[in-house]
């Protein structure tokens, strides 16, 4: 009984070791792409009622762009939308939303895109799984 367990443990250990070495070899077949060295971002889209074409749009855009962690910002009076990409380690959605709120006395809320039918190719495997696998691959890429 004990011998059998030890044998199973040994085989499992060798298999895992082999799979790990194979994964490291696979990860190093080619160098990591350049996007692997760019910091990941997050995005928020805020609907601002009464966003006019006047200078307050430009002032708001400038103010948000200067915030620490913001990588890009667009204020579009035509759609009444403010979209911001940011480094989630440096700032967060709620502080950006409250900053936008200081520029508008009217309603400021997350934009909703529900109810719009979209069409296009869909991957059967969730993208987050593929990206987690890629991150693990780049972590073991030493080239």
């Amino acid at each position: 009984m004990k011998k059998g367990l030890i044998k199973t443990a040994k085989i499992s250990l060798y298999t895992l070791g082999f799979l790990f070495v194979a994964f490291v070899v696979y990860a190093n077949l080619e160098p990591a792409p350049m996007h692997a060295f760019v910091k990941p971002i997050s995005m928020t889209i805020i609907k601002v009622d009464g966003l006019s074409e006047t200078t307050n749009s430009e002032a708001l855009q400038k103010q948000i762009s200067q915030q620490k962690g913001v990588t890009a910002c667009t204020v579009n009076p035509a759609s009444q939308l403010v979209s911001i990409t940011f480094d989630p380690d440096a700032t967060n959605e709620s502080s950006l939303k409250s900053l936008v709120g200081t520029y508008s006395a009217k309603k400021v809320e997350p934009a909703s895109f529900d109810g719009i039918t979209a069409s296009g190719p869909e991957c059967p495997v969730p993208l987050s799984y593929i990206q987690a696998f890629e991150r693990a691959k780049y972590a073991f890429c030493f080239r």
């Binding site: 350049m34 760019v38 910002c73 579009n76 895109f113 979209a118």
Partner: protein
């Protein structure tokens, strides 16, 4: 012997210096002129925010926008990574685009001319924000514009 060694050294120095001159004279790639990966990622981020706030692009980017508003950034990350790699490769950088080909990626989306033109306009606005000179803009738009037939009407 000494003479032979001396003339060999002189010849080597001459060859090496002439190679250096040739290297110096080589024109910089569009990728280098744009400013490398950090500049391209900054332009791509600006391009993405332009698209997200563009009323003409809502239909096309709905799945991405819906997921972003729910806190799921997987599609956003995929789009950003693909754009960085695609622009980097198209401009002569070390990036290698590994995403789907343009026809497969846009199959069933039925993108119109208006939507494609809005997309190009969003990219131009992003390039203008970072003061990319018109020569570099035209070069980049020329490369990407060639993909129009593979994107529109699929």
């Amino acid at each position: 012997m000494k003479k032979a060694f001396l003339s060999l050294s002189v010849a080597l120095v001459f060859i090496m210096s002439s190679c250096k001159k040739e290297e110096e004279a080589a024109p910089k790639s569009l990728y280098d002129r744009l400013g490398g990966v950090s500049a391209i990622s900054a332009v791509v981020d600006q391009f993405i925010t332009n698209v997200a706030a563009d009323p003409n692009m809502v239909r096309t980017f709905t799945p991405l926008l819906q997921e972003v508003q729910k806190g799921n950034t997987a599609r956003l990350t995929a789009l950003r990574n693909n754009l960085i790699d695609q622009i980097g490769q198209a401009s002569g950088g070390p990036q290698k685009y590994t995403g789907k080909d343009m026809v497969t990626a846009h199959k069933g989306m039925k993108i119109t001319d208006t939507e494609f033109n809005s997309l190009v306009n969003d990219l131009v606005m992003a390039l203008n924000k970072f003061n990319v000179p018109s020569t570099e803009q035209n070069e980049l738009l020329g490369v990407l514009g060639g993909l129009k037939s593979q994107i529109v009407g699929q």
